[in-house]
Every structure is written in C-alpha cells, then in structure tokens.
C-alpha cells in the first residue's frame, strides 16, 4: 500500500511492502549510531546508542556493550529470530478476504480465522505462550469498504473456548459474546461492515482480560465510500505482554515486538502523506499514547468522520480506543515515535520513521 493505492488486496495477495527496499539490511549501523548521538540530549536518545552496539551481532549468544561509560546502553540486546512474526511486514499487510459478488451486487468478503495456541517471540529472546488468530499477534488486519458483507468462518483449534467480537453494527447473535466456540468447533460470523472507521476485533470469552492479553485481537478497517486519499499506510496495534503473569506488562510494543521499529524503522518520504491506523489493544494499563517527533498530525477519532478532530503531536488512547492519524514529514532523517508514558517507551514501545527525500 506504499503507493497509496486504495484498492484492497485479497487474502493471499496482500501487499507486504515488497516494492520497498528490505528494511533490515539496508541501514548502516553507524547511521543508527549517529542518529542516536544527535538525539543524545533527548530523554530517549540514548536508546539508539545501545542498539548500535548490538544490531550487527544479532543472534549471537552474547554481545559486547561498546561503552560502559556514558549515557548509552538502553534498549534490548540482539534481535528476534528472522523466521518468526515480522512486524515490518505486518504493518503494511491488509487482508481483503476472498472477494465475490452477492446477487444484489454488493461485495462479499470471506475470511477463515483459526484460533491456535502458539509461543511467540515478543522481545529478542523472550517467548510468550500466546493465543492467536491465524498464528500471529495481532491477528490479520481485516480491510473492507462500508456496506461490504463480511463472512468470517471461525474455527477454534486452541485449547480454550474463544469467540470473535467485532466492533461495529451487527445483530446480537453475531456479537461474539453468547455463542462461545469450544475447542474443535466452528462458528460463522456474518454482518455488514458499518460504520466506516477504524475498529478492532477481539475474543470476548471470559476471563476477558486473559483472552485478550494472550493475543486474541486485531484491526478491522472499514473504508468510507470512495476510499480515503492516497497515502503510505501503516497499521500500529499498541500492545503489551505480561510475561510472568503478575498482572503487569513486562514489555510494550506496537505490533508485538518490543523496539522492533528502532532496529527496523518504518519508511516515509518527505512531503508524502502518511496514514497510521493506530489501535490500542493494551491490557493492564488503562491508557496508552502516541507521540511523533518533529511533527504534528491530524487525528480522526475512530476514523468515523472525514474531517480531523484535532491537530496535535501527542494523542491519548484508552483501552480499545483507536484513531487514524495523518501526517507529512517536512524534513528527512530519523524521527522517533513512542508512547509518551516514558515507562512504556523504554519497555519497548518506541520506534523510528526513516524519512527520505522524495
């Protein structure tokens, strides 16, 4: 979707940003180091220094800390396994389902969701026993247009009963609350996609907090009639993981992997419209936030209106709240984005935009 093409890719043909240069290998570690040094005065700037030392040694059993003295050292050691969930690909992967026409001419989008238990890597070397939709956390990003018919065949291959509760208009028996799907069972959700906006879906089986926190959530985007203006689009699902089950998150992130976009910045171009679909799926902590450095953005609350509600550089999210943000970068370089709760940021919820001249 990097070229702003409003057409929604179908399942299995989703754009994963393959037209862009590979994000990981192309960036000089020295550049990261310089970027960090430039930010040195900023509270979070030291993070980059720590990353610089370890990135090139990814996957080795141990790493050298380059400077015992000085402000460097924040951030994780190593990188995640390259064969697991890739947050970079996830951010640009929109799933339009299997598309067909209904007799009345409307679009029918069919999805197949399978709940599976799976251990996922949520920070380099740290594994979490997740419950997932289709093997990933967050689940697939559903994308459709207002008025499309959505049909989700949900198969529970997990070890506990689950459901899918979609935000949006739908009948009571499609709400994912009363029809609990036991392991081995299947249920078909069917409804019209309304209203347009940025929504989410999640499991609504009790105990709720555990079912959601373990990973059963995802993004549900309903485009307005005619679509939104072309833009480079990214999905950001803010989440956290209580790895020792003490009722507090040990790690925070957007799109699951702590600090991922510090190591693999999201790309943007000067003067180009960037649209962020930001969903707060965090548990345990009541609020979350997003702040972007060196910029201001339009906030479309829940994405349900085409006029922005606010022009700001920091926006607050309650649990389950989500906003569409639109911005343009004026300058090239590295711009940080992170939760303005410093604790969340330093526990993984921060990243970079790598902005280049168009």
């Amino acid at each position: 979707m990097s070229d702003g093409d409003p057409q929604i890719p179908e399942t299995g043909r989703g754009s994963s940003g393959s037209d862009r240069p590979p994000p990981a290998g192309g960036i000089s570690r020295r550049a990261v180091l310089r970027g960090g040094a430039a930010l040195g005065a900023a509270a979070l700037g030291g993070a980059a220094l720590g990353l610089a030392g370890q990135g090139s040694q990814a996957l080795k059993p141990r790493v050298e800390v380059p400077h015992i003295h000085g402000a460097g050292g924040s951030g994780p050691v190593r990188d995640i396994r390259p064969d697991g969930f890739d947050p970079t690909a996830f951010a640009t992967r929109f799933d339009g389902g299997i598309v067909s026409r209904l007799p009345d001419g409307r679009t029918l989008r069919q999805y197949h969701f399978v709940a599976v238990d799976r251990e996922i890597e949520i920070a380099p070397g740290i594994w979490f026993p997740a419950w997932t939709y289709n093997g990933g956390v967050p689940g697939p990003t559903i994308r459709c247009s207002q008025g499309d018919r959505i049909r989700v065949r949900f198969q529970n291959a997990g070890s506990h009963p689950h459901t899918i509760h979609f935000h949006g208009f739908h009948p009571a028996d499609m709400d994912g609350v009363f029809e609990v799907v036991d392991p081995g069972k299947t249920f078909v959700y069917e409804f019209d996609a309304e209203p347009y906006g940025l929504h989410l879906y999640h499991c609504h089986t009790t105990p709720l907090r555990r079912h959601i926190h373990k990973g059963l959530y995802g993004t549900f985007i309903v485009d307005p009639p005619g679509g939104r203006p072309p833009a480079r689009e990214y999905v950001m699902v803010m989440n956290g993981f209580d790895t020792d089950f003490d009722g507090e998150n040990e790690f925070y992130a957007v799109n699951t992997v702590a600090f991922h976009y510090m190591r693999h910045p999201l790309e943007a171009r000067v003067g180009e419209k960037v649209r962020l679909y930001v969903v707060n799926a965090l548990e345990f902590d009541l609020i979350n936030s997003l702040h972007i450095h060196g910029n201001f953005f339009d906030v479309y609350r829940t994405g349900t209106r085409l006029e922005p509600n606010e022009f700001t550089d920091t926006v607050l999210f309650c649990q389950g709240e989500r906003h569409i943000l639109e911005l343009e970068f004026r300058y090239p370089g590295r711009f940080m984005f992170h939760a303005h709760q410093s604790e969340f940021a330093e526990l993984g919820w921060m990243g970079f935009f790598d902005v280049r001249q168009g």
């Binding site: 720590g50 030392g53 059993p61 141990r62 050292g73 920070a123 740290i126 026993p129 040990e250 993984g348």
Partner: protein, 389 residues
C-alpha cells in the same frame, strides 16, 4: 568366609543390582511425571556491585532445577543492554556475571529485573546506590583498621582487666566464668541466626540451611572429640580452655567482620563512630570471657597477646573478605563453624564451673553462677542494641 558372610554379600549385591537397574530405568524412561509446561526457573542474586559510575555488575546463581537463559534486562522500568559471562544460559548451580552500562544515581534506589527466555522476571534492588569499593591498598587499610577497632581492641581491653579479675575470690571468679557462659550462649544464638539468614540468601539449590546445621554440628563434634583426647592425656588445663574460647570467638568475629565489610561495601550501612563504639563495647565482654578461665592458671604475656589476636584478628580478615568478595554461602559456612566452636567452648567453661580446683564435682546451680550467666546474656543483648542488625 562363613555362610553368613556369603549370604550378606549376596544380599548386598542384589540390593545394589536393583538400585542400578531402577536408576537406569528411570533415567531412560522418566518417572512419568515430567512437566510439559515451561520449566520452573530460579535465579538468585548473590552480589551487586557498582564498580564505577555508569556500570552495574550482578553476580547471579541458578539455584533451580532447570537451566535459565537470560535474554533481556530491565533497569528501573527500562529495557537495558547488558553482557553476561560466561553465556546467557546458566546451568543448575552455575553462576554468571551480568554487566549493565547503567547510569546509576548516587544515594538513590534502583530496581533490576533479568528476564528469562520464558518471560520470568527475576528482580533485585539496589537499596542505596554507592560506588563499590575496589580492593585498593587504601580501602584494605581502612577495612583492617575497622576490624582492628571492632575485634582486636575490645578483646585486648577485656583481657587487660585480668589484673583486676585476679583480685577476685572464688565466688567472683565463678561469677565471671558464668558470665562467660552467658555471653557465649548469646553468641551461639546470634551466630547461628546470622548463618541461617545468610543461608536463606544463597541459591536454594545449595540447601544452605541444611549445610549450616551440618557444619555447625560437625565442628562441635570434632572439637569435643579433640578436647576429649587432650583431656585423657591430661593436657587440657584452663589455658587450653581459654585458647578454645579465643578460637570460637575468633570465628564469630570473622563472621561479624564479613557482615560489616559487606554492609559497608554495598552501602547498606554507613558505619559511623557511634556504631564502631557499639561493636567495641559489645566485644569487650568477649575479652573478659577469655580472661576468666585464666584466673585458674598462671598465664604469661604471650598468652594474652596470642589470645587477643586469635579472637580479634579474624575480624580484620572478615572485613577484608566481606568488603571485597562477599559470598553469602561461604559466609554462612564460616558462621556455622563459629557456632559449633562457641558451643564447644560453652561445654568447656561449664566443666570449670561444675568442678573445683581439686577436681571434685560441685553443684553448678549456685547464686553467683546463675547471676553471672544472666548478667552475661543481658550485657551482650544490651550492647547489641548499639550495633546494626
């Protein structure tokens, strides 16, 4: 070889064979109770050092059943880079050193978590951050002086009361001997408590509390056997009793030195003049305890000097060890040895109280003995209030 011998050997072989077979079977097949869930992980922080500004060093031990792999570190709610030697996976009862380039703040508290591969967070705290003294000559001299003040000086002062004590009559001497018993009883309880406290800090896999009891009882049994042998040869006079008191108190003071040295090194206590005075008063009584049996002998100056060094000198050694490389397990073992040694001395001094100079048995439950023991314990308790717990 008789028929009974052969039968005995046969039974022994059968038992050994069954045991080997059973172990082989269990190792090959398992006991059927293996966990499919993630392993139960355990990690103990043995020592935290702040060697220099911007540097935190942790010494950790895996006291659990399964290996622990440390993949991330979190300091004050921020993920922080680190190195771990010899590697991130720590085997059972193995230790590792973690270095964090963290800008700690003088005088403030810091919280550290090490997160394992399975997401288990092992937490520890730096209560008051202060640079850990390195083993420089200056620091060693300061520690030695401290050990000298709290160990050698008070014991020597206590011993120096000998000329005064020598004027006492029989009842006065018995009072002092009983006072010695009282102070030793206090020290046995105090030393054992401290040993068990330290044992609780050591990694669980070492079963340190059991080890403490075994070491204490073995020391007691060994010393009792040793002194019994000397007594049979008639070589255990009051001088020897004083020697053993000095030895036991020396081991106790080694533990005290360890505690003081490590507390200073980690910034847990700021040892002011008042506290040094407290330790000194507390330990003067120990000197009197060593001197008491000498009232029944003809000691020379070298005895006084030797006993003062034997009882007080280990405090210096303890301060050095505690101030440079403190290890709770070894400290607990030293203290357990001290406990056994002191318990043995109680037996020896008790013998002096139940026998008169001629060797005839006398009733130990005399007024001066009961009063002496009570006063001894009371003095130790009251002066203990002057020193940090």
């Amino acid at each position: 070889m008789s028929a009974r011998d052969r039968a005995g050997i046969a039974v022994g072989l059968v038992v050994a064979g069954v045991l080997v077979g059973l172990l082989a079977f269990l190792l090959a097949r398992g006991v059927g109770l293996e966990r499919s869930a993630p392993p139960i992980e355990e990690l103990t922080f043995e020592r935290i050092e702040l060697p220099e500004p911007g540097h935190v060093r942790l010494h950790v031990v895996n006291g659990g059943v399964d290996p622990v792999t440390v993949h991330q570190a979190i300091v004050d709610d921020a993920v922080w880079s680190f190195t771990i030697e010899p590697g991130p996976t720590i085997g059972r009862l193995r230790s590792a050193t973690v270095d964090l380039p963290y800008p700690w703040v003088e005088g403030e508290a810091h919280h550290i978590k090490l997160v394992s591969r399975n997401g288990v967070a092992f937490e520890t705290e730096i209560a008051v951050a202060t640079e850990t003294p390195q083993a420089t000559p200056g620091w060693l001299v300061r520690l030695a002086l401290l050990g000298f003040y709290v160990g050698v000086v008070p014991v020597a002062l206590g011993l120096a009361t000998y000329p005064l004590l020598a004027r006492l009559g029989r009842r006065g001497i018995d009072f002092l001997l009983a006072l010695t018993v009282g102070l030793l009883v206090f020290l046995v309880i105090d030393t054992m408590t401290e040993a068990l406290e330290l044992a609780a800090e050591a990694a669980a896999g070492f079963h340190a509390p059991v080890l403490v009891w075994i070491v204490a009882l073995s020391t007691l049994a060994g010393l009792l056997a040793f002194t019994a042998g000397r007594r049979r040869r008639g070589a255990l006079g009051p001088l020897a009793v004083s020697f053993f008191i000095a030895l036991g108190i020396g081991l106790h003071n080694l533990g005290e030195g360890l505690a003081i040295g490590s507390a200073l090194a980690t910034g847990a206590i700021g040892l002011g003049t008042f506290l040094v005075v407290g330790f000194t008063l507390h330990n003067i009584t120990e000197g009197i305890g060593i001197a008491a049996p000498l009232l029944r002998a003809e000691p020379r100056l070298r005895h006084f000097v030797g006993y003062a060094l034997l009882a007080g000198g280990p405090a210096i050694l303890g301060c050095w060890i505690g101030g440079v490389v403190f290890d709770p397990l070894w400290a607990a073992v030293f203290l357990a040895m001290g406990t056994g040694a002191i318990a043995q001395v109680i037996v020896e001094v008790g013998r002096l109280l139940v026998a008169d100079r001629a060797g005839a048995t006398v009733d130990p439950w005399r007024g001066e003995v009961l009063a002496g023991a009570a006063v001894g314990i009371a003095i130790m308790y009251v002066t203990a209030l002057l020193v940090p717990a």
